[in-house]
Symmetry: C2
Subunit: 161 residues, 2 copies
């Protein structure tokens, strides 16, 4: 039975890592010029989506109780505001470095969690609510962030020629 | 521990259902004219993505050992061949009906599985390989199909004005 618990965690965590690997490969294949394009006219650029994914994944650190965000300033540009805001975006070169840094820290911390810890509550749910909704745990956050990542991979792949 | 398995199944299955709900809502908002457009010039149309998702989800029935596909003929048009093949696509009106039918059957069958059954092997893995790779189970298939669905939701949402 313990084995099966590990199995569910392994499946969800492997799924997230596999999405991340795919996204990293794709982003490495896209040039700066590709990423500066709008995916569809009047919609987000690859530049914005790149920053958005870093900001969302960086925010997983506090949400999962694994430490502070490395670059909390990204949330303003890439989560709270849309692509066409007046806020200055960090360069793509800079974001590519942050992409690697955030994921290195996040994956290391996730890999260190025990099975029990994967089933503990995330920090955006209260103790009382967690009793009623025990599915609001770390496993759930990683699953839903994996889905979010897939959603945006489906978009940035359209920038490939 | 048994409790944790139930929870993991709930999280993965709820995640899939939530993606499906989002996709259904989005497809209902898109007109036939919207779906006939290419998402990006020279790339897939919404029409093709709609058929592709039905074909992939219909194929989950045999893959999960839950019965035969309802519309196995869709695989040829929407999986084995690309959008711009010479094969005739069923109409969007027809596909919308198949979308509902496939998902009604699939969700009903998934809902009837016990926790143990979610951890059993899918039909594309041999008994010998399953001993070595116990993560190749139904739970894994549903998780990865949920990711695949998110990927395409990220694309068809670009057809919305």
């Amino acid at each position: 039975m313990e084995n099966k618990n590990n199995l569910a965690v392994k499946i969800v965590f492997d799924g997230f890592k596999s999405n991340l690997k795919r996204a990293t490969k794709l982003l490495n294949e896209l040039t700066e010029k590709d990423l500066l394009q709008e995916i569809v006219i009047f919609k987000n650029t690859g530049h914005y989506v790149l920053g958005h994914l870093i900001a969302i994944h960086d925010n997983m650190l506090p949400l999962l109780g694994l430490g502070d965000s490395l670059y909390p300033e990204l949330a303003d540009v890439f989560i709270k505001n849309p692509d066409k805001s007046e806020l200055q975006k960090p360069s793509i070169t800079h974001l590519r470095i942050q992409w690697d840094e955030v994921h290195q820290v996040l994956l290391t911390k996730l890999a260190s969690l025990t099975t029990e810890q994967w089933f503990e509550k995330h920090t955006a749910v209260s103790d009382e609510d967690f009793v009623k909704e025990p599915q609001r745990n770390r496993l759930n956050v990683v699953l839903s962030r994996g889905n979010h990542l897939s959603y945006h991979i489906g978009q940035i792949i359209l920038l490939k020629n």
